[in-house]
């Protein structure tokens, strides 16, 4: 064996050893990570099970009993409940009093109760998203490092948005429910405030990634801050803003049903009542309506986002 070959084989062996050591170390860390995650998961499961009113394995055989009340005696009642058509089973109980909730618009033309409630929930989501958008846009430009030179102002706005984002919605909803004494408006304020924080964060991250050449050009001709933001910033970021706003609408529809269930009015409240009283047909009608609406909103928003910004709209989180 020549001298050069010895050196080479030594080097190769060293490299191979180093690589092996590195891989085994990395494998060890991966195993450790997965192991501790599993331990944490099992502990968490045990804890959740202990703290729950009913325990998992005690309740598991009865999970189908719980479904039994859901199956209506007459499947047509689901449609009747959905469209407020009188049911032959109506004996004056709340379970089958479908026509009672009709909202007459004019003459004999009515909006079924559940559609009206769904509309309330949707409107809450839309108006609160609008509020979020209107305030998040200026805040996001103030919070962007490349557009606002003052670090103090930036910090204040960022912290404020973080606070809005993290503040539990139900507390704001509860506080304003005590002041305004009606559900939906308090829900709008709660979800709107949250949306300002949530959208503002996403927006300012977009703002910080814009191409600054347009801004420099405007600065060179003496444009002030508003003109620079309006003509250099906004056109670049608006498609992404709209895309995130549409995503926010999807989320807000869900939140507004939940806020509704804790007293914000709308379809959430009705669903909670219906489930807690065990009204099979009504529950199925509500679930069907809610499911369809959320599905349609999601699909429509996804289609629109794809049109606005292409596949990029779906690269969240990464």
């Amino acid at each position: 064996m020549t001298f050069a070959a010895t050196i080479r084989s030594d080097a190769v062996r060293q490299a191979a050893d180093a690589w092996r050591r590195q891989t085994s170390l990395r494998r060890f860390y991966t195993a450790l990570g997965i192991g501790s995650l599993l331990v944490a998961m099992c502990t968490a499961m045990w804890f959740a099970d202990e703290a729950n009113a009913g325990h998992f394995f005690d309740r598991l055989p009865h999970i189908l009993d719980f479904l039994s009340w859901l199956v209506p005696k007459d499947w047509n009642d689901v449609w009747r409940a959905l469209f407020d058509i009188a049911s032959p089973h109506d004996k004056g109980s709340q379970e089958f009093n479908f026509p009672l909730g009709r909202v007459y618009l004019w003459g004999g033309f009515y909006l079924p109760e559940y559609f009206e409630l769904m509309l309330t929930t949707l409107n809450v989501a839309l108006v609160s998203t609008f509020i979020g958008f209107v305030f998040a846009v200026p805040f996001s430009f103030i919070a962007a490092r490349n557009l606002t030179p003052s670090p103090v102002l930036r910090l204040v706005v960022k912290r404020f948005m973080e606070l809005l984002r993290a503040f539990p919605e139900i507390v704001i909803a509860g506080l304003f429910a005590a002041i305004l004494s009606t559900g939906p408006v308090a829900a709008i304020i709660a979800i709107g405030l949250h949306s300002i924080g949530a959208l503002g964060k996403l927006f300012y991250e977009i703002n910080e990634n814009i191409d600054m050449r347009a801004e420099e050009g405007l600065r060179a001709v003496g444009a002030n801050w508003f003109e620079r933001v309006r003509f250099a910033g906004l056109p670049q970021v608006l498609p992404n803003f709209m895309s995130y706003t549409l995503l926010r609408i999807e989320i807000n529809v869900r939140i507004s049903t939940i806020i509704g269930a804790v007293g914000g009015g709308g379809i959430g409240e009705e669903l909670k009542l219906s489930i807690s009283r065990g009204f099979g047909a009504k529950t199925l009608a509500l679930v069907l309506l809610l499911f369809t609406t959320i599905f349609l909103v999601d699909q429509f928003s996804a289609w629109l986002r794809r049109k606005l910004v292409g596949e990029q709209a779906f690269m969240m989180g990464a």
């Binding site: 703290a51 729950n52 919605e169 509860g174 939940i258 989180g317």
Partner: protein, 455 residues
Amino acid sequence: MAAMTADQMRSIEERFPQVFRRPLYKRFGPLVLFTGILLYLVYALWFFSLPQVLRESHWERLPLFLTQWISYDLQPEFRLDQPQITPRYPRFSALGEDPHPDWVITNANGSYTILIDGRAKSVTFDKTEATLVANGQTVPVSLASGKPVISGPVPEWITAHDDEIVARMGFAGEVRITVDRVKVRKRFLGWANFVFDTRSPFFGKSPGEVVSLLMSGPQLKPGTSNIALAADNIWNNAQWQHGDVWTKLFQTIVMAFLGTLLGGIVAFPLAFFAARNITPSGLLSQVLKRFFDFMRSVDMLIWALFFTRAFGPGPLAGSAAIFFTEIGTLGKVYSEGLENIDDKPREGIQSTGANGLLVQRYGVLPEVIPVFISQTLYQWESNTRGATIIGAVGAGGIGLKLWEAMRTNSNWANVFYMVLLVLLVVFIFDSISNFLRRRLSRTIHDYNRIQAGQG
């Protein structure tokens, strides 16, 4: 520079038709959108009957509620119709069993002086006469005639009803006087009895005293060390319920953790069969994708209500609700992540004759794992927030406790305490998740750079 000629203008216009001759929908699109939104807002105004809601609103309650977040009040009552004037405190007042606060002064002649805010805002009274002092004014109230009567002008901080006189002294409190009793509300900044409640043997002791008791005091409760006793007293503080609040907070964290993790574990293998570029069957991909849509569209609320009914209220129901929603969400984002991968590493592994599983392990996983973890962390973070609201419908955790404390409208300090804890948790989890995601995104970035470098 001179102005442009018409020819120059026209030539510029011809050179840039995309700027000067835009299609109609582009020119009027924004205007139509704007008008549409405006019309919608008008409709929403009518739909929520906002003017009426605002007219019936009680904005004066807002500052009251907000002050209750960070303050508490004591409301002693002094009966005047008994042989001797006696102070009475509500049964569960923050002062404990036998209160002798230094702001209630018994004068030599049998009258009482209550200092609402020092001598400048106070009330002095006996059975026949009361003297209100505030805002630099001294107002005598005569109680001798069977009705409280103010002789002379009534200042604007006093409201004289027929049988009761109400003196508002701002944040510090108020005094209500009738012929047979004087009611005082004195407000203090801060949280009363936050550490030890009135039943605790440590109640009313200064921090120094408590520390010396803990270090080297005689045992307050025989058989138990003072430190254990203090810990037990704090944990079981009846007014603040530290033990319960922290347990519920932990439940919320566990709900989010468990739901997201289980969702990820189930969604992970399914996503491979849903990704169009990996799955062998287009039908399977479609079925799985619709399944993900279904799990997502059946709202977290619906899952929560169902599981609360199935398992009873508690974190198990909440975890299950987040788990089911998360199968849909994570399944969707995982499969989209898989569909966006670079196919070359896979082809390379395939060319060595590796079997299907090995191709996924060495050709796909290294590329998607950082993205998957990043998205899972993001979901975990947002579920930690979501678990709070879900809890309020009965799925356990701090949400339910918050909602119950709020419903009574009287316990805003407790609400604020819980809000602060929730904020703390959310901030900590945000930071952890942001830190991890930033590190991961560097990994993703490096990976992409290496890929690009290799062409």
